[in-house]
Amino acid sequence: MEDMIFYDRMQFAFTITFHYLFPQLTMGLSLMIVYFKWKFLRSKIEKYNDAAKFWMKIFALNFAMGVVTGIPMEFQFGTNWAKFSELTGGIIGQTLAMEGMFSFFLESSFLGLFLFGEKLLGQKLHFLTGFLVFLGSWASGYLIIATHSWMQFPVGYEILENGKFVLNNFGALFSNPWLMPAYLHNQLASVITSSFVVAAIGAFYLLNNKHSDFGKLFVKTGVIFGLISSVLVAFPTGDWVAKNVAKHQPVAFAAMEGIFETETGGSEIVLIGQPDMENKKLDNKIAVPNVLSFLTYQNWEAEIKGLNEFDESLYPTNVPGLYYSYHIMVGLGTLFIGLMAIAALQLYRKKLYKSKWILWSILFMLPFPYIANTTGWYTAELGRQPWLVYNLLKTSEGISPTVSSGNTLFTLLGFIGLYLLLGLLFLMLAGKIINKGPETSNH
């Protein structure tokens, strides 16, 4: 039984982690492509259209990876989490079915037109198809976060005698207080990923002295989008999400922040330290007094319950994992704001394209938004454990009753092998497109 839960969780964690590397770029990049296309329509400067076309190639490759790794996500609810699907399908099936019907059809129908239809459609309609692809991908994010929010903070349901969750208020799924903060936070985080990718490719061209015109455009656009999104992801949206956790999942909040003791007169914010679960304390701690109380309740002395106040059976399953995920996300987020602020300042002083160390920093920063996005999701998901539906349905109660651990391990190994191949192919082909660079149209 333990093995079954472990392999089921590993398979879901592995496949969703790998999958989400792609949609986070898809969502952010579709916005930036629409921006380039819009600039082209307004200014008629070909460079913007060429930039849009270049990013469309990366987008298409990335989108294909997102699609092929996305289908297993929907199937796994049934294959590996049958009991969960049976009990909650009447509710989360709504939002997941809506995702298929409203966003995937929109995205996939218009992506073909966007990729192959520029000549057939003319520029304005071509812009429109790009916009619809953007809309589809953001609608998909919305419906997934709606599903996620219901699991974190269940609303609009009743539980029947046989344990089944049934919907009694459709509107509640979308007015869930968890939904909007989490959605905006997540979408901004995906814009950060695309901003850093665009800026990093631009920096790569500038440092290589090739495609310099595009290099400048990419760095500039990436830095502006990057600065705005990194600030907004922390404040106000990150703040809203954290306040929701503090209010509705206080034990997860204490674990995230690494607070073991309830401090009278206000809680400190932990910057660094290692949770020692055996002795219930934080080793090698560096912390700033009272700041957490202020950030959470705008009151320097507000009380925040430490982990030691709760019974151990209520703890999130993996407290150190949750703590590290959260701190990595927040630490990287802070770094993003710092780097983008300096870059934006240099851009304003017209020195950015010449300051090699900033360009190198931007280039090196490329993988980190992916890590921040991933650890952000880990924070949300590990914080919810051991629950699938918070406080109502345990993860151990959700797995498929008849799928043995050996079969799950077999498919997990298969997914690992297949996804390693996919990852290699993606890097190789993306590298090829980037190395070749944007093509200039001769008009």
Binding site: T69, F75, F77, M98, M101, F102, L167, P401, L429
Partner: protein, 358 residues
């Protein structure tokens, strides 16, 4: 309300099989009949802008199944665990075969992805046929041994095969001679269907040859259908009971045979889309006849201890199903509009789309 969603689900499933079916068929044709580069190009151009949207129908079918019939979704997806995961892997290979081939100009690279596309299409057709065979044959719900359920009454798990390969054995497997027979029907039917699509959407030099292929394969298909019908009593002693009870169900087999027999005239069709219409008719009729024969069951039980899964005992709660109708109708209208636009823009012959060229 269950009946409404059952009909919706079956319509969506049929649409999926007709649409992605021509992609699978095109893959099989690509594997066996396309020797020259320009023929291969013609085939990938004919499905290039569509296959992704076609595959979305599968996701949508899964989503509606999840939402409207959660118990069936949970039971069948966990019970058919291995083949479903393998279908996912094959779908990945099909997709990357199509999408990555044109990215590098190198003979070896192209050959690898051609094979990936072709072989995964072939296996997908086979697997979907086998899946249909499993649904009509039924499973040991509750995994009854010695008259006692070992798991909850609506759960089960099937290995890929058991040594007897028999659909009537005590211990069933997913692959037995009956399900493989339906798998072969699916492979042949989809090959014909894919060939018809290529004839319809391209001016390829392959088209004349493909008409002959369709004509010959149609004899094979007819033979396989007759064999399947003649052995059907092995899995269902009284296969016609639903057709006696609801005589209008006869429309489904009539459509099947109209499609099948119509295709024998493939060589003389003036309009190139006619063949595709007939094979679509066959697929529509074949699928609906099969599910109609077990209606209202959706997954029969092979033991006497646990009842079969029916549309009533697997459906979600009334409120959710009712509220779902509102958004579903809006979404369905939108999907129809998207499809209209998509097929309108890419109407006519597709030889010059330049699919996969970046």
């Amino acid at each position: 309300m269950e009946l409404f969603w059952y009909i919706v689900l079956m319509i969506m499933l049929t649409v999926y099989i007709i649409l992605d079916g021509y992609d699978f068929g095109a893959g099989i044709v690509h594997l066996f009949f396309a020797k020259e580069e320009k023929d291969k190009k013609a085939i990938t151009n004919a499905i290039g802008p569509f296959w992704d949207a076609n595959e979305v129908w599968l996701i949508a079918v899964g989503g509606v199944l999840f939402f409207a019939f959660p118990t069936l979704y949970a039971s069948s997806f966990s019970g058919f665990y291995l083949p479903l995961i393998m279908i996912l892997w094959l779908l990945i290979f099909r997709a990357i075969g199509l999408e990555l081939r044109g990215q590098v100009h190198n003979k070896m690279w192209e050959a690898i992805w051609d094979k990936a596309f072709g072989i995964s299409s072939l296996l997908l057709a086979l697997f979907f046929g086998i899946a249909l065979g499993n649904v009509v044959r039924g499973v040991n719900l509750g995994m009854v041994t010695d008259g006692v359920s070992t798991v909850e009454a609506h759960y089960f798990f099937l290995p890929l095969w058991n040594p007897t390969f028999s659909p009537t054995a005590e211990h069933l497997g997913i692959i037995d001679w009956f399900t493989v027979l339906l798998g072969l029907v699916a492979v042949v039917a989809l090959t014909i269907h894919g060939a018809n699509w290529i004839i319809f959407k391209t001016n390829s030099g392959l088209n004349q040859k493909l008409r002959k292929v369709v004509f010959r394969l149609n004899f094979v298909l007819l033979a396989l259908v007759i064999i399947s019908l003649s052995v059907w009593h092995n899995i269902e002693p009284n296969p016609f009971h639903n057709f006696m009870e609801y005589p209008w169900f006869w429309i489904f087999p009539i459509l099947t045979f109209t499609g099948l027999l119509g295709l024998f005239k493939v060589k003389s069709f003036k309009k190139e889309g006619i063949g595709f219409l007939f094979s679509s008719l066959f697929l529509f009729g074949g699928l609906t006849t099969t599910v109609a024969s077990i209606f209202p069951k959706v997954l029969p039980s092979t033991n006497t201890v646990n009842p079969s899964l029916t549309i009533q005992n697997v459906a979600a709660h009334e409120y959710g199903l009712t509220v779902g109708v509102y958004w579903f109708v809006i979404a369905a209208v939108l999907v129809a509009v998207y499809m209209f636009i998509q097929y309108r823009v890419f109407s006519g012959k597709m030889d010059d789309v330049g699919y996969g060229e970046h």
